[in-house]
């Protein structure tokens, strides 16, 4: 596998993706919704900060020295971005994978490529590298917009440790979307009719990203009442933990269902690293990676398995054959 061939194929795919109007529209839509959602969250955050400062000043004037810290963290404003990447980002990655195979097959360029000294690995991973570069661009731009919005409109610039957390989240997002790219490309390469590969990948997406997490979420007792069951019962966290300890089997089944989903592993890791979940707040990056090691291992396993599937399908001569509909 030569670097020059890989880079040539990657560059070709990177440029070609931008020329597709539907994909460009999907990318721009994702950028738009994530930007607006972070902006809205940042304005809300700023309002809460101001309110907290006023409360602190009033408490100080009344002679109260100790005021509980504000239960808000700047990075948690990126939560809607995580969720959009989880749902829409995965579809964009599938579309990238599909287009990467459909383009070559539709233009009959796969056969042409095979007349050159290009190995099966280069044929599979060259375009994948281009797609990963595109995904990286998308994730980095989204993260930058998010961080800058938090700084300017939320009045809270992130520090060095938080910057490392954002980088780790970006890496996880790229890996997550990369898995869906491999899925889209592999299933399209296997399909005689290109559109069937795309639909099959979307069915997998529906199950993995929407249905399995939805089942897990609706089985969560705290999600059954607006505002949370335990809040409705006026119970604090220690009480909640004590009660849930009596429902171990139910929680294990619920957790087992959620663990089947790659989307849930990505979400859990992202929420932990971005301070979204209370239980991870105050932990160092080392502690956070240890706490979420199971999610990291699952994500790596998916990357390895889907990259293998990509190598076996896109790199095989059978990927050249079949109908084309573009």
């Amino acid at each position: 596998m030569t670097n020059a061939t890989l880079l040539t194929l990657a560059g070709h795919d990177y440029r070609a993706a931008f020329r597709n109007r539907v994909l460009a529209a999907l990318l721009l839509t994702l950028l738009f919704v994530t930007t607006v959602s972070v902006l809205v969250a940042a304005f809300g955050y700023q309002a809460q900060l101001d309110e907290y400062e006023r409360y602190k000043a009033a408490a100080a004037a009344a002679g109260i020295d100790t005021v509980a810290p504000l239960p808000l963290r700047a990075l948690q404003l990126l939560r809607p971005v995580v969720e959009y990447l989880e749902i829409i980002g995965a579809v964009i990655a599938i579309a990238l994978g599909y287009l990467s195979v459909a383009r070559e097959r539709g233009n009959r360029t796969l056969r042409l490529l095979r007349t050159r000294p290009v190995s099966a690995g280069e044929l599979a991973f060259g375009p994948a590298l281009g797609a990963v570069a595109l995904i990286t661009t998308l994730v980095v731009v989204t993260a930058t917009i998010g961080v800058v919005s938090i700084g300017i409109w939320g009045h809270d610039w992130i520090d060095g440790e938080q910057a490392i957390k954002v980088v780790l989240w970006c890496i996880a997002s790229i890996a997550y979307m990369g898995v869906f790219y491999c899925l889209g490309a592999a299933l399209t390469a296997r399909s005689r009719v290109l559109a069937n590969g795309l639909v099959a990948a979307l069915v997998v997406w529906l199950v993995v990203v929407l249905i399995i997490p939805q089942i897990g979420d609706t089985m969560d007792p705290d999600n059954q009442v607006p505002g949370g069951l335990f809040s409705a019962l006026n119970l604090d966290k220690p009480h909640e933990t004590r009660i849930l300890a009596n429902f171990g089997t139910y929680e294990r089944v619920r957790n087992g269902i959620e663990e089947l989903s790659l989307a849930k592993h990505y979400e859990r890791f992202a929420f932990a690293i971005l301070d979204v979940k209370d239980k991870y707040r105050g932990m160092s990056i080392g502690q956070l990676t240890t706490e979420t090691r199971s999610d990291i291992i699952w994500m790596l396993a998916y990357v390895v398995v889907l990259a293998g599937a990509l190598r076996m399908t896109v790199g095989s001569p059978a990927a050249q054959s079949g109908g084309d509909d573009e």
Binding site: V22, L198, V199, P221, F247, Y250, E326
Partner: protein, 305 residues
């Protein structure tokens, strides 16, 4: 002739493996919806009992049970999510296939080589699509009744059966809406996969993006039947909440929740107000599809992908 086109449409769908796979997923989830509803409800009742006992042992009064008087149909609350997720996607695929399969096989040109009006063709297609969706939802209805009977330990009452029928009628309207989206995009966008992606983009905007702007619902919050829209204290939502009537997925979920009485504090079903946006969009999309069918390019180049 409308019947012939509709029957052909149904035969063609029954041969599509992708359609059958999504259909199987929807029916499976219908069965699971009852079980999940029962399982989570049962657990929460036990959580409440344990919470009350714990608070009593600490000398505190027991809070009111948030699940008091919860109707039996609320066990199917997950269906209000599965229809906009799986059902709408299934409908998009049905609408999409109605156009692209004929085009790929070259039968669109063949059909119009006969003395057939374009409106006849459209009505035939719509009848076929509606027939398929009615059959799917009728199967879902039967499965829901069986699930309710098993989980509740008794058959649903006449009122409950009526409410369930009303819910599935609303779901049919919602699914036809997305079938029209699938048809319209297949008629506008050349290339079947790109047409499917565009339809999917519209579905994602309706399901996940619009509710975030009108109600502050994060994308994953849209997957939960129990939602808590953001308050209108923020200036942004004070403005955008006025657009909530145009958020079709929220209107569908609210109307479904009212029909199935899934939330105790939910207002009674207000047919006209809640169904108006969906009905208006249905008419608008129907007209748009009719215009697109009339303008469909039947030249040799235009009729094939």
């Amino acid at each position: 002739m409308i019947g012939v086109i509709a029957a052909h449409q149904l035969r063609m769908l029954s041969r599509e493996r992708i359609f059958l796979a999504i259909l199987a997923a929807l029916l499976l989830m219908t069965v699971l919806a009852g079980f999940i509803g029962w399982s989570s409800h049962n657990t929460i009742v036990r959580v409440y009992e344990e919470s009350s006992a714990m608070l009593a042992s600490e000398g505190q009064p027991a809070p009111p049970n948030p699940f008091d008087l919860k109707p039996r149909l609320s066990l199917l609350s997950n269906m209000t999510i599965y229809i906009p997720l799986i059902g709408a996607l299934l409908a998009i695929v049905v609408g999409h296939l109605a156009i692209v399969t004929d085009r790929a096989a070259g039968s669109t040109r063949l059909i119009f080589s006969r003395p057939i009006l374009r409106s006849t063709y459209l009505w035939g297609k719509l009848t076929g699509i509606a027939g398929a969706l009615v059959a799917i939802l009728a199967a879902s209805y039967v499965l829901s009744v069986i699930s309710l009977t098993i989980v509740n330990g008794s058959a649903p009452t006449a009122d409950e059966l009526g409410r369930l029928a009303l819910f599935y009628a609303l779901s049919l309207a919602y699914m036809v809406l997305f079938a029209l989206v699938g048809m319209a995009t297949a008629l506008v966008v050349h290339g079947r996969s790109l047409a499917l992606l565009v339809a999917l983009g519209i579905w994602m905007a309706v399901t996940f993006m619009v509710p975030q702007f009108t109600s502050g619902l994060r994308p994953t919050a849209s997957l939960n039947p129990i939602v808590d829209p953001v308050s209108t204290s923020q200036q942004f939502f004070r403005v955008t909440s006025n657009l909530r009537p145009f958020s079709i997925s929220e209107q569908y979920r609210d109307a479904s929740a009212s029909i199935l009485q899934t939330a105790p504090d939910r207002a009674a079903f207000d047919g006209m107000r809640q169904l108006l946006p969906i009905s208006a969009l249905l008419v608008a999309l129907g007209l748009l599809t009719a215009v697109l069918v009339n303008r469909q390019d039947l030249s040799e180049r235009g009729a094939n992908d």
